[in-house]
């Protein structure tokens, strides 16, 4: 059961090798803790479909998954598996009448923070475009 705590507007699932973003770094570039919540996974291959759907239920308006580029995944095919799950989640969102573009997979270079920040900005832009789907 997901708890009632509201998550950030954008939630990012990143693997150990892609996310190098501390709270301080985020604040420095003007991203408030309520705007972005990052969950580190050992590998995006461990991404559960339920975790993404529950993130939306708990208040996220958009979710991104940042995994290693295909061919450079530390666990060989983890980010490929994650990308397939993201496709499945998009279909589920569509069935529920929620824009599938509210979830996206980003294949990013390892150990750099800029691509993750760029992923956040892209998703924040999509929220601006679509508006909130949660009822106030």
């Amino acid at each position: 059961m997901p708890d009632k705590k509201k998550t950030a507007t954008v939630k990012g699932f990143c693997c150990n090798y892609t996310a190098r973003l501390s709270g301080d770094v985020l604040l420095e570039i003007g991203i408030a803790p309520d705007d972005l919540q990052i969950e580190r996974l050992a590998c995006t291959g461990r991404l559960e479909v339920t975790a993404v759907l529950d993130a939306f239920s708990q208040g996220a308006e958009a979710v991104f998954v940042a995994g290693c580029r295909h061919g450079s995944c530390h666990n060989v095919s983890g980010s490929k598996r994650a990308a397939k799950r993201v496709i499945e989640i998009k279909k589920t969102l569509q069935e529920l009448g929620i824009e599938p573009e509210r979830v996206e997979m980003f294949l990013v270079p390892r150990g750099e923070s800029e691509p993750v920040v760029a992923a956040y900005k892209e998703m924040a832009g999509r929220i601006d475009r679509f508006g909130r789907f949660h009822k106030e």
């Binding site: 997901p2 589920t92 069935e95 529920l96 009448g97």
Partner: protein, 222 residues
């Protein structure tokens, strides 16, 4: 095994509209093997329905449980207790499980979470194909082990029909003509002369056309 697929979420959400507490009940039998109704799939279904409820601004809550099999009384017994306090149980077993709950669990409102589709084999991860239709009087000894009831679009007992072209079925060129395959298979086995025998008209009473079927083995009865 029995193959099934999840119903569209809008259909399931329509069934539970106005309710408050829902139990999503999985089965670890066939539907877990065909990745439509086991532990993993009920968790995903409950999360999806929860999100659907959030989007609709409803306060509906969802519990999740999975039984070893929903088609055996000993595994179904705990459901009477489990279902207490829920407005409905969405079963992700095949139709057998849903029926069995309806028969055996008075007071439980059971709803189907899946469409039960066919008896099939697992060709590869994520791909299943129909192989048998449970006709109740198997003819596979006459057809090289390939089923004309389930795998011929017309269920012909004496094929192929005139629409078979280059080994493909006229209803869809992606579908192999099973009678073409039966011919090849029997030829390989040195039994091609079987094709000269006309199979008699099939007695469909064993296929359920004589009413619901049951099977009793006296030696196993309690």
């Amino acid at each position: 095994m029995i193959i099934a697929e999840r119903k569209p979420l809008s259909e399931i959400l329509g069934m539970i509209q106005g309710m408050h507490r829902i139990l999503v009940l999985g089965c670890r039998g066939c539907v877990a093997v065909c990745s439509s109704g086991g532990d993993k799939e009920v968790a995903v279904l409950a999360s999806a329905l929860r999100l659907g409820a959030v989007k609709a601004g409803s306060d509906m809550s969802f519990g999740v449980q999975t039984l070893v099999r929903q088609c055996d009384p000993e595994y179904l017994a705990p459901l009477a207790e489990m279902a207490k306090g829920y407005d409905a149980v969405i079963s992700t077993a095949c139709g057998v499980g849903v029926n069995f709950i309806a028969d055996r669990c008075p007071g439980v409102r059971v709803l189907p979470g899946l469409n039960t589709t066919f008896y099939g084999a697992n060709l590869s991860s994520g791909e299943w194909r129909e192989m048998c239709a449970g006709c109740g009087s198997c003819v596979l000894h006459l057809t090289g082990g390939l089923c004309p009831v389930a795998r011929c679009a017309k269920g012909l007992s004496n094929g192929p029909c005139g629409g078979s072209v280059g080994g493909r079925c006229e209803i869809n060129p992606e579908t192999a003509c099973v009678w073409h395959r039966i011919h090849d298979k029997l030829t390989d086995l040195g039994e091609a002369d079987r094709l000269m025998d006309i199979m008699p008209i099939k007695d469909w009473r064993t296929a359920g056309h004589g009413g619901p079927r049951k099977r009793i083995r006296e030696e196993l009865l309690p």
